[in-house]
Symmetry: C2
């Protein structure tokens, strides 16, 4: 790595979002732009939703004589001075070349690679704000977990981003707990990226940069619901290293964060959604005291139904191996069923004989469980397709949530 050929220009990278996962990913990206000067510009912009923050007295950055500690300050000023996101990723030193920027438009300006890492409910609004203000040939990576499921069908967040901005956008997902990644505890992740072929072509000496920067390539794109559309995508000027699997690996892979890059965007995204539903069942079963065998059985059936869901509704665009071999599939499922919040709340709801909404209230500090929402959305979708019976575990989770079934009935229900 570090030398992918003599290109005249380098990629400029921006990270959109600065929660705990956004900041952890921005740290990784900035470490890698600094380490790969032949491909990337060193400085990385991170868009931070500006807010006033006070440095806590127990922070290592608390110094009563410092101007930063005289009452609430801009979060961006704090990040850029002490190189720590004291609010969302406290205790982790960020690289000097990572710059917090309160202006969304300024942060993405001139960037060829945009990394999206913000709560999914903000995607559309955020993209609308930068539409037309980014490089037309930029490429995106969405680190937003899951998919958007409703009765009508399933859409990928990466596709939503790509459609609004008129760019190609891939996805990153895996068995990643933000705080552990930030502490550089070893883990793995999957990137899925499958742009039209011209992106990975070696630059042609006959293609002038200015001409190719105008180069609109039209291609047909079939989204996950099977809808075919003509997409116009601007080719990356040939003076940039092509944004291919190798370049993305240089941008995200670290000794403590192993990346595998695949083509299957739908599979990588779907795994991150369905595993939360399975984790609820695993938590219930564990709460019943049924032991490790039973929990492993739930995870096995869950993995099977994830594969089947992909095969049924995504057809040829999905790879079975994504679920069974990639971090975004089986590994993320395992992590979520070991100690993720869906698992923990479901387990507590059985142990305390409380509805899960009650546990959610007392344990999650106002946050919502992703698994319960996804279980309902997936069930609405399956019901509309007339396919509840073919996904007995996903259906059982919904039925237990609505009180139509008890946890004791899950084994016989999924036996069919």
């Amino acid at each position: 790595m570090g030398s992918l050929g003599p290109y005249q220009r380098k990629h400029k990278v921006a990270v959109i979002g600065s929660g705990n996962w956004g900041t952890a990913i921005a740290k990784i990206v900035a470490e890698n732009t600094a380490g790969n000067p032949a491909i990337f510009e060193k400085d990385v912009q991170m868009w931070v939703f500006e807010e006033k923050v006070e440095i806590a007295k127990d922070s290592r950055h608390y110094d009563p004589s410092s101007p930063l500690c005289q009452g609430p300050q801009n979060l961006t000023d704090i990040v850029n001075t002490v190189h720590e996101n004291v609010k969302y990723l406290p205790g982790i030193t960020l690289p000097d070349n990572l710059h917090a920027n309160p202006s969304l438009v300024d942060a993405v300006k001139d960037s060829t690679i945009l990394v999206f890492n913000l709560p999914h409910q903000f995607i559309i609004k955020t993209c609308e704000q930068i539409k037309g203000k980014i490089l037309p040939y930029a490429r995106g990576i969405s680190c937003i977990k899951g998919v958007d499921v409703n009765e009508e069908g399933i859409s990928l967040f990466s596709e939503t981003i790509g459609k609004i901005l008129g760019i190609y956008c891939g996805a990153l997902s895996g068995a990643n707990i933000a705080s552990e990644v930030a502490q550089e505890k070893w883990s793995e992740s999957s990137i899925a990226y499958d742009p039209p072929h011209f992106d990975s072509k070696a630059p042609s000496p006959n293609r002038s940069p200015s001409a190719s920067s105008e180069n609109l390539v039209q291609f047909e794109h079939k989204d996950v619901s099977g809808q075919l559309s003509r997409v116009k995508l601007q080719a990356l000027p040939s003076e940039f290293p092509p944004v291919d699997h190798a370049v993305l690996k240089s941008l995200f892979h670290r000794p403590y964060f192993h990346i595998r890059v695949v083509n299957d965007v739908a599979g990588v995204s779907l795994g991150g959604a369905l595993k939360n539903v399975v984790a609820l069942a695993a938590g219930w079963v564990d709460g019943m005291g049924w032991g490790d065998n039973a929990k492993a059985a739930i995870m096995r059936v869950g993995l099977l139904e994830m594969v089947k869901f992909g095969e049924k509704f995504f057809g040829a665009t999905i790879e079975t191996r994504t679920f069974t071999e990639e971090s975004a599939g089986v590994a993320d499922l395992i992590t979520s069923c070991s100690g993720g919040r869906n698992f923990r709340c479901a387990k507590l709801s059985v142990e305390r004989k409380q509805p899960i909404e009650k546990v959610e209230e007392t344990e999650l500090n106002g946050q919502k469980l992703q698994g319960t929402l996804t279980a309902v959305e997936v069930n609405n979708f399956l019901k509309k397709q007339g396919m509840e019976d073919e996904f007995p575990l996903l259906t059982a989770v919904y039925r237990v949530l609505t009180g139509a079934m008890s946890v004791e009935d899950i084994p016989s229900y999924i036996e069919r």
Copy 2:
């Protein structure tokens, strides 16, 4: 279930072995023979290696006035009187139709289905003792976990049994902890059974029972090392229900013990061996405090290498899906990496900074870890094939065991 057609004769079932897993399986089998009177004779023989046992004072069966409690008694007498294996599966009531038999030859006499469930070091000796004394058309199921790996190749315990006895033998393996299964906590298991086709044919009205009981069918069998041999197998007389997947499911499936029957004997057996090696790595990583992400990464890589091992060395005889979809594959791997003894000892060895042999001594009461033995055997085999590099996790486990590598080096070693 319960009615598979009007056959004149029923299957008689014997269980060979009565440790905790042997007794738990015998309990299941006896429950099912009682529940399926159209297919099975009710009474099940369980061979018990006879020993003198005293009923403990805290046992629910202790009664100072009972003759059974006047000093040490035959284990078979105790089992047949109080219907509990007080030594190896205390606290679990066994069905009345399960009979402990101290005579191996008498236990298997006239049985059409033989269930082998004893420590693998006793297989050969036990089979030699009943060779020629069983029905020539009996069928076997081996519940012995793992495979026999050495430098020369890999052999399946089910094949060893089948070869010595001249019968066909399948395998049962899964995410099963004996005590949990005995307590009827819900779990799953896999049976692999793929006999020559004549076994599953419907009985022909033109084939007389006596003729067919003499019927030696010769077929070619390719074992896991690729060696082709001619096997003569005696056809099951047509007055018995054919021993097929449905009959095996009736014999082993319970509401608390869900069975899936597949054809892939090699895959089901191999999973039970390799998962123990992976569990060592999972234990080390957990002992380092690297968290759930890292543990899931080890399990993911382990699953990949199990699939690859199967594909490389078993070729067309193995199904990738066995590893990724069956209880004997991914689910057993998950259970073993959650709390199995290989996992626990490996974890303790890191936490205590002790060699794993030391932990084994203090924690296992004289028993040996299967994973460390298998890791060495598998490495000898891979070395001979010149394929250590293609299985970096399996190789890393061996190197850590021999001190050639430290646990800290595993992530970079398996990154290649």
